[in-house]
């Protein structure tokens, strides 16, 4: 007699799993392939030009030769300004939404709605707005400062959204637990919630960094076109992405330099993102050791 299995029908259609695995692998391969294609195209043209002098030199002949040194510095300074504003603003807003107001309340809905809408404002509008608001109304002129602040407005939604979902994904009993220990809300936020949500926040920051460093339209009108070594946040300084745009569409016979600059930009993103991740991990580890 056959072993007594009450249900003879085969369980768990294996083909479905196979199909899903196949579709997933195809999709993963496709996105990797497209990315590799894009980077390969950049590298083929741009890699031979990259050298130490390229990284540190000044722009010559409208960008057809020379380097991108001042632009690297300007780009980093713009990023510093941007992050200095957007991190407190974004996490603060997300904290308020997740810890201080009821989910679905009118206030929360208005703020999230406003933030979501901000995400869909065309970047060129940010540029025009930043030029008038930061540049003229707040008298920052064409400067790294006004470029950074404009970018901050632009990536704010990314940070708020990711931080918010990181906070919402925290175990629900973390809050009563900290309240049960008699911690004040501030202590509980600073010592418990933020560290726990930090990996999620860092994801948001890395996304924001990528978006900020790749932005062109918002920066042409704010941080500007100057190729001088910046000496302060009040100087105008051309960002790498603006330079790539200018080379691609404005300076004939500079395709190779545009590719080199794009490669440097990618490398920069890699470095900055890794630094952000490493910094957060280091910080978390130190907390774990001391507490």
């Amino acid at each position: 007699m056959t072993p007594p299995t009450p249900r003879a029908r085969p369980v768990a259609p294996v083909w479905l799993d196979r199909a899903l695995a196949f579709a997933g692998a195809t999709a993963a391969l496709l996105s990797f392939g497209l990315f590799a294609w894009l980077v390969w195209d950049l590298a083929r043209l741009g890699l031979p030009r990259i050298s130490w002098t390229f990284l540190t030199g000044e722009i010559e002949d409208a960008g057809r030769s020379g380097g991108i040194g001042p632009l690297l510095v300007s780009t980093l300074l713009i990023l510093v300004c941007c992050l200095a504003l957007v991190i407190p603003l974004g996490t603060g807003c997300a904290l308020w939404l997740s810890e201080f107001v009821r989910r679905g309340s009118l206030a929360a809905r208005l703020v999230t709605g406003g933030v979501d809408l901000l995400a869909s404002v065309p970047s060129i509008v940010f540029g025009l707005f930043g030029m008038v608001f930061f540049g003229q109304t707040l008298k920052m002129g064409f400067s790294i400062l006004s470029g950074g602040l404009t970018l901050a407005c632009m990536i704010l939604p990314i940070l708020v959204r990711t931080t918010l979902s990181a906070l919402e994904a925290l175990p629900a009993d973390l809050r009563p637990a900290s309240a049960g220990l008699g911690l004040t809300r501030t202590t509980s936020i600073v010592k418990l919630l933020l560290p726990a949500a930090l990996p999620g926040i860092v994801v948001g920051i890395t996304l924001g960094i990528g978006r900020a460093l790749s932005e062109t339209a918002a920066l042409i009108f704010t941080s500007g076109y100057s190729i001088r070594w910046p000496s302060s946040f009040w100087d105008s300084g051309r960002a790498l992405s603006v330079h790539i745009y200018d080379l691609t569409l404005n300076v004939p016979q500079s395709g190779a330099m545009a590719s080199s600059t794009a490669l440097v930009l990618l490398a920069l993103i890699l470095v900055v993102n890794s630094a952000a991740v490493a910094l957060s991990e280091h910080w978390l580890r130190r907390r774990h050791q001391t507490s």
């Binding site: 007699m1 072993p3 007594p4 299995t5 009450p6 249900r7 003879a8 029908r9 085969p10 369980v11 768990a12």
Partner: protein, 277 residues
């Protein structure tokens, strides 16, 4: 319990009423050990789990009861780096630990209910549809099957009017009974309980305990519990886990009556008398 061959044909056609058509299976464990990377959590386990009886696994925290329990239906596969050695044999000869064993049908035959109720955060109905469909139930048979098991766990009258509502809106005790019903719906032969009452209030806990007790005879039940009184009340057989040389193992097992009243192992004796652990 031996009319299985007949009832099998009938299952798909008339899945309603009764519920006494499932087969219980016995489990025979020998030389079993569970390793997490370099660390051995459980070792040297030999245990007979007879069909249709309730076997309680007791012992202090961290002695490997849960690891052992999860190895019985290969849930240990989910843990990266976890390795199980030894033999677990179902009464039909299926070797649980064999790599070629169909894990999914194994888990249907050896169901599990966890410490924390874990219904899917979807409608109550979906909680049954998802696993039943996976195991080949026809769509039109599902409502009857769901009603049968919900009646068995005594939930039908409480929730039959909100089957389309989210399962996580139920109380903790209701959620746990839903999870038991969900496991029963698959007509398992063995059902494992991993401290099923420890996350519940005393009243809900009592209801669940009675429910488990009612499964006796129809199904083979293995229950991990910290509640010795509970184990005494419901178990036919008991096994006491203890950590020896850093490795969890069974130091005493046999009929519950004997294990609880006259343990031969000193560690087991002191644990059961409440002195240690």
């Amino acid at each position: 319990m031996n009319s299985t061959g007949l009832s099998r044909e009938n299952d798909a056609e008339t899945p309603s009423s009764g519920g006494h058509r499932t087969v219980a299976a016995s489990l025979s464990v020998s030389g079993l050990s569970v390793h997490y990377r370099d660390f051995t959590a459980v070792g040297g386990i030999d245990l007979e789990i007879p069909e249709g009886e309730i076997t309680a696994l007791v012992g202090p925290s961290g002695c490997g009861k849960s690891s052992f329990l999860h190895s019985l239906n290969r849930l240990t596969d989910l843990i990266p780096g976890c390795r199980v050695a030894g033999s677990i044999r179902l009464s039909d000869g299926t070797e649980v630990t064999h790599p070629k064993t169909d894990v999914l049908s194994l888990r249907r035959r050896v169901g599990i209910v966890f410490q924390r109720p874990n219904p899917f955060p979807q409608s109550i109905r979906r909680n049954f549809e998802i696993p039943l469909k996976e195991h080949g139930w026809r769509k039109r048979d599902i409502p009857d099957r769901m009603e049968t098991v919900l009646r068995e766990v005594g939930l039908w009258n409480e929730i039959s009017d909100r089957l389309h509502k989210s399962a996580i809106a139920l109380s903790g005790g209701q959620q746990q009974r839903l999870c038991i019903a969900r496991a029963l719906a698959l007509e398992p032969e063995v059902i494992l309980f991993d401290e099923p009452c420890s996350a519940l209030d005393p009243i809900a806990s009592g209801v669940v305990e009675d429910l488990i007790h009612s499964l006796r005879g129809r199904l083979t039940v293995v229950i991990v519990t910290h509640n010795l009184a509970q184990a005494r009340r419901i178990a036919d057989r008991a096994a006491v886990f203890w950590v020896r040389d850093g490795i969890g193992t069974i130091v005493e097992h046999g009929p519950a009556e004997r294990v609880f009243t006259a343990p031969s192992n000193p560690d087991a004796a002191s644990y059961l008398s409440g002195a240690r652990g």
